[in-house]
């Protein structure tokens, strides 16, 4: 793994994916970079508002924020075609927004309202919008890697050129389904991209203390005949480059890619967790590498006008304000939904 470790150093220049599995990708076009920035700012503002609304008692249940991890969701979404499939985890707000799902529907789902993406039947951990090819947020660790394989298998059989992209956390690399899915994807050469968002903490425990290898995903790639791909998950140009290479490989029929994106969640595991178990120095070091200000600086340095960025930031704030107001104005779902849509006939009857 010397090769892998040698490539681990981080730069701020958008040098692309590290590791031997990613093909070289040219400079990221400026319109892509501004759209990535816009996505990241929207995600950040949306999730901060979701947290505020939780503190106000308007967002209920649990939620798992991706604050700090936006560069993974945005970089990949920017590289995907509209027809590609996203599979995400319970930490899926960002991945849902990244596919173009309206903020109001997501916020209303978090608030348990009629206007919610699933009319309140799924909640924060199950965001799904088939129309946007956001094929679901899955709350049982590992399961959706196997399901993403199925979508990829179907795409391959149907000859559509679609790719399934499946995001998951570092903790997932230690559950059986991860290994079953990686093996099958490799054997069947499926057009699927597995993206490990390694935020260093498996819920409340450091992933390094419960994993036999240093890089929980990348170090497992060789077991499945795949090249390790380790990428700076806080660098949106790097995630975009890694995504582009993996998607191209999948579309070319060369099979799956396993990407490990190193990142950090700014908050705790879930809304009930202040994340106090993490060393303060570690938190501060990662906050200093917050992907959004870093990317902003890079855009300015590469000649993007400040006013363009300010416009993006103001528009995001307005969009979050509007979505929160619309969601709050939506009534609770009608109780008739309790017994709706167990079956394709729209009902829940189990007897005749």
């Amino acid at each position: 793994m010397t090769e892998l470790q040698d490539q681990k150093g981080r730069g701020g220049t958008g040098s692309g994916a590290r590791g031997t599995g990613a093909a070289a990708v040219g400079p990221v076009p400026i319109e892509v970079r501004t759209s990535i920035y816009k996505m990241m700012v929207e995600m950040r503002d949306f999730e901060k508002r979701a947290y505020d609304l939780f503190l106000q008692g308007l967002v209920k249940g649990t939620s798992h924020l991706g604050l700090g991890q936006e560069a993974v969701a945005a970089g990949f979404a920017a590289a995907m075609r509209p027809s590609d499939y996203t599979f995400a985890t319970y930490r899926g707000h960002n991945h849902t927004l990244a596919r173009g799902v309206p903020m109001t529907a997501v916020m209303a789902e978090l608030m348990g309202r009629q206007a919610g993406l699933m009319a309140g039947k799924g909640g924060s951990m199950h965001l799904t919008s088939v129309a946007h090819r956001m094929m679901g947020s899955y709350a049982i660790v590992g399961a959706h890697l196997t399901i993403a394989n199925g979508a990829a298998w179907s795409a391959k059989l149907r000859g559509t050129g679609e790719v399934a992209v499946c995001f998951f956390g570092d903790g997932t690399t230690n559950i059986g389904a991860f290994h079953e899915a990686l093996n099958l994807a490799a054997v069947w050469k499926l057009p699927v991209v597995f993206v490990c968002e390694n935020n260093r903490w498996m819920e409340y425990t450091p992933i390094s203390s419960v994993t036999a290898v240093a890089h929980p995903a990348a170090d497992r790639a060789r077991s499945y005949g795949l090249d390790p791909v380790l990428v700076d998950g806080n660098d949106a140009d790097a995630t975009y480059a890694a995504a582009s290479a993996a998607l191209e490989r999948a579309r070319a029929g060369a099979g799956p890619t396993l990407v490990e994106a190193e990142t950090y969640r700014h908050g705790g595991h879930s809304r009930a967790d202040p994340g106090k178990y993490r060393p303060e120095a570690e938190v501060q070091a990662w906050l200093a590498r917050d992907p959004i200000p870093l990317y902003r600086l890079r855009l300015v340095e590469s000649g993007v006008d400040e006013s363009v960025l300010r416009q993006i930031e103001e528009a995001a704030q307005s969009a979050v304000d509007a979505a929160s107001a619309e969601a709050a104005a939506s009534p609770p779902p009608d109780s008739s939904l309790v017994e709706a849509d167990v079956w394709a006939d729209g009902g829940s009857s189990w007897r005749r």
């Binding site: 499939y85 799904t128 088939v130 094929m135 298998w153 389904a177 079953e180 093996n183 005749r352």
Partner: protein
């Protein structure tokens, strides 16, 4: 009309549907060129090829996840779990993912898929290859549960399951694989959620499923020799459950006996009994009797397994108790 084994009927049903609909695919361990460990998919691979009939590693979660992801994106997979006991290693995909996704997404996702599995005892395979797990499935909202008892029903109910827009668990009782029965020529498509009255008698209603159906019929034959005329209902499907056929018969006979291969607690017979007690109590002229395997893991030795599973004699005894 041709006589055919239960196992050949499985292959025929799969082929019938794959021929009709190019989106139907078959995956599982050894289902391809090997023709299945029970030889229930012989010939399917040769006929439809490696793109549509795919062997998998021993990875039950990967098999069912692949079936789910394929079903949500335009295919109609038939997945095989070799022994139903193995559902225990992939139950997350069944119970948390496949069963709940339509509901959780407010109807956005359809999962037209079938999971076939060899279920039940009688083969002396011991406690980890002989369980009757249809009750596990019945307890999860969002799963349809089917268990045929005859070769004809295997073809017709499998076709209905494949064409159904919802996920169906299709339990093939492994001791029935060599059993023969008449199967009409041509396409057969049955209807889920319909029980069949296999024998009509005015004195008691016996409700059975899968391998318990032929035993119940034999018990009925013998009881007829004692002057007791028994109706035998083959339930065929637990979800949807044909309450109408059962309740109508109980109103006529006044007596209900369920015959279940599963261990006692929370078996499907308990649900049938509770429905009849709730809705037809005043039509009953005797206690509802459940004949089940005792609440034990199934033992391997033939003498022990035979003693555990409901026998013809125990079914007859159950009917007599109900009539007392």
């Amino acid at each position: 009309m041709a006589e055919m084994t239960y196992r050949d009927a499985v292959a025929r049903g799969i082929a019938q549907e794959m021929e009709r609909d190019p989106s139907v695919v078959l995956i599982g361990e050894d289902v391809g060129s090997a023709g299945g460990v029970f030889k229930a998919t012989v010939g399917v691979f040769d006929r439809f090829g490696p793109d549509r009939v795919v062997d998998t590693p021993i990875s039950e979660q990967a098999i069912l996840g692949a079936a789910m992801g394929a079903a949500m994106t335009g295919l109609r997979p038939i997945a095989e779990i070799m022994f139903s006991d193995f559902f225990a290693v992939c139950w997350d995909i069944v119970a948390n993912e496949i069963a709940k996704t339509r509901y959780m997404t407010n109807g956005q996702v359809s999962l037209p898929l079938v999971i076939r599995s060899a279920n039940g005892g009688g083969a002396r395979f011991g406690a980890q290859h002989s369980q009757s797990v249809e009750n596990w499935a019945m307890a999860i909202p969002g799963l349809k549960v089917v268990a045929p008892s005859t070769p004809r029903d295997v073809v017709g109910l499998l076709a209905a399951a494949v064409r159904d827009p919802d996920p169906v668990l299709f339990f093939e009782q492994k001791s029935l694989y060599p059993a023969k029965g008449d199967v009409p020529e041509g396409e057969i498509v049955d209807e889920l959620g319909t029980a069949v009255v296999r024998r009509h008698g005015k004195d008691a209603t016996v409700v059975a499923l899968a391998a318990m159906v032929p035993r119940a019929l034999e018990a009925a034959d013998r009881l007829a020799g004692e002057g007791v005329e028994v109706t035998v209902i083959d339930l065929r499907s637990l979800v949807p459950l044909d309450v109408t056929t059962v309740a109508t018969s109980v109103t006529e006979t006044g007596h209900l006996v369920t015959v279940e291969e599963n261990p006692r607690l929370c078996g499907w017979g308990a649900e049938v009994a509770s429905i009849v007690a709730e809705e037809r109590l005043f039509d009953l002229d005797g206690p509802i009797v459940r004949v089940t395997t005792p609440h034990v893991p199934l033992p391997a030795a033939d003498a022990l397994e035979d003693a555990a599973m409901p026998t013809v004699a125990r079914i007859m005894e159950g009917v007599r108790r109900s009539l007392q």
